[in-house]
């Protein structure tokens, strides 16, 4: 397949953008990575995702597909000769989708809160994040059935959904001086995180923690310059 037949619109620090890139790597699909300039949105992005105007967008041929986990499912359905990303069993599939939704809807919000909040509020977010990790540790035990990944022998849907957050998790640990993934409390996840980050599909695109920390300073500066959030 010609490289410019498949494009990913995105940015290197973004958790969500990592997801389709991992999926394409799993399927050994060549793609062109079109990076958005920080602070502005390209014409192509605005045209491809008129509803949300957000990255990532996968452009396959001339068709845009939006929403990171939907793109991952699309990639799995189109490139069937590569390893499967979703489990074939409907129940296993439902479980993976359940936890991917939990990560995106509940846990991600708590992580974001933890990065920004102060004092009492921060403690509340930390509790939520820790409780979430305990749930995910349990889910890992059930899904992996003794293997390296939530998906079993190979990276699957839930590995991609959760693993893509590891870069920013490490930032939070370093900057916030807090241990989130802990050998004592979440041994399964600690080992899983190592396996995930070392995987061929992930290694070359997982951002380095130091680079993310530098980027987060840029983000904070932009947030402070922005008008106050509405309630």
């Amino acid at each position: 397949m010609a490289k410019n037949d498949v494009k990913v619109l995105g940015a290197w620090p973004s958790t969500f953008v990592m997801r389709p890139r991992i999926a394409l790597n799993i399927k050994s699909v060549n793609y062109e990575f079109l990076e958005e300039t920080f602070g502005s949105k390209s014409e192509l992005l605005l045209q491809s995702n008129p509803v949300h105007k957000k990255i990532p967008v996968l452009i396959h041929g001339d068709k845009p597909i939006c929403e990171s986990m939907i793109i991952v499912e699309y990639i799995d359905e189109v490139w069937t000769s590569g390893p499967s990303i979703l489990p074939s069993d409907p129940y296993d599939r439902a479980i993976q989708r359940f936890w991917a939704a939990y990560v995106d809807e509940k846990w991600f919000a708590a992580m974001r809160g933890l990065r920004i909040a102060q004092g009492e509020e921060r403690k509340a977010f930390l509790d939520q994040v820790t409780e979430g990790l305990a749930l995910l540790e349990e889910a890992f035990g059930k899904c992996s059935k003794g293997k390296a990944f939530f998906g079993g022998d190979r990276i699957g849907l839930l590995d991609i959904a959760f693993g893509s957050l590891l870069g920013w998790l490490r930032v939070t640990e370093k900057v916030g001086k807090v241990k989130l993934l802990d050998e004592a409390k979440t041994p399964g996840l600690v080992k899983w995180a190592e396996s995930f980050c070392a995987d061929a599909a992930v290694k070359s695109i997982m951002p380095e923690t130091e680079k993310l920390i530098e980027f987060s300073k840029l983000l904070m500066a932009q947030m402070k310059g922005a008008p106050p959030p509405k309630n």
């Binding site: 008129p50 509803v51 396959h60 068709k63 597909i65 939006c66 929403e67 939907i70 793109i71 499912e73 699309y74 359905e77 189109v78 409907p90 129940y91 599939r93 439902a94 989708r97 359940f98 939704a101 939990y102 749930l135």
Partner: protein
């Protein structure tokens, strides 16, 4: 076929998403009504993370989250498909399912306007209209149903617009899904309710009015 059970609540739009999917595919199931002020031990066992309905239990295995349940039903019982055949159209359908989930839930402007008054409500009304505009223009377009000529997964996802929004409008006294402002969505709402499976599977209108009126009074009293 292994037993299918649905744990639900009579007034929940999320439960109806699952009921419609089951009925459209002709799948027999046992319905168990849950009291949300007094949750049964089975519910807490099946959905320990969210403790919510709907929960589908198939051969003893629980599946949670309404649209995840619908996708499970679609994969397990392929007759009368709810999703299109080709991957691109499936991705488009899933995009709008997610949009429905993200923009009609209990924290959405539609429910915010039900729970508030004054300036807060004005703002919520404005935001609700913006959402309807996006769905009318980008989501539905010229089609009769989101699924085309037949109901599909996106029609099911927009369950709130189909019926529940009408109660919000009636009790609060504001018309959002107006035939002039949103002719296509308005027609969709009418067409959907005429489909026999949908018509025969909606919570009782009178009971819903009483329930919504009571909820609104409770919310206003606590402010």
């Amino acid at each position: 076929m292994a037993e299918v059970k649905l744990h639900g609540r009579w007034s929940s739009p999320y439960v109806y998403r699952v009921i419609w999917a089951l009925k459209l595919k002709g799948i027999p199931y046992e319905y168990i009504e849950e009291d949300l002020f007094n949750k049964g031990p089975l519910l807490l066992q099946y959905n320990p993370v969210h403790k919510k309905v709907p929960v589908l239990v198939h051969g003893g295995k629980p599946i949670c989250e309404s649209m995840i349940i619908v996708e499970y039903i679609e994969q397990t019982w392929p007759q009368n498909p709810l999703l299109p055949n080709n991957p691109y159209e499936r991705a488009m359908a899933r995009f709008w399912v997610k949009f429905a989930d993200d923009n009609t839930d209990k924290d959405s402007p539609f429910w915010l306007l039900f729970r508030s008054s004054g300036e807060k409500q004005e703002k919520a009304i404005k935001e609700s209209l913006e959402i309807l505009k996006v769905v009318e223009e980008h989501g539905l377009g010229e089609k009769k149903f989101f699924g085309g000529d037949k109901i599909g997964i996106v029609d099911i996802a927009f369950v709130e617009f189909a019926y529940w929004l009408g109660f919000i409008e009636e009790i609060v006294g504001v018309k959002l899904l107006d035939a002039h402002a949103f002719p296509r969505l308005h027609a969709w709402q009418k067409n959907l309710k005429e489909v026999p499976v949908i018509k025969e599977n909606l919570p009782d209108h009178g009971e819903m009015l009483v329930y919504f009126k009571w909820r609104r009074e409770m919310l206003m009293a606590s402010q």
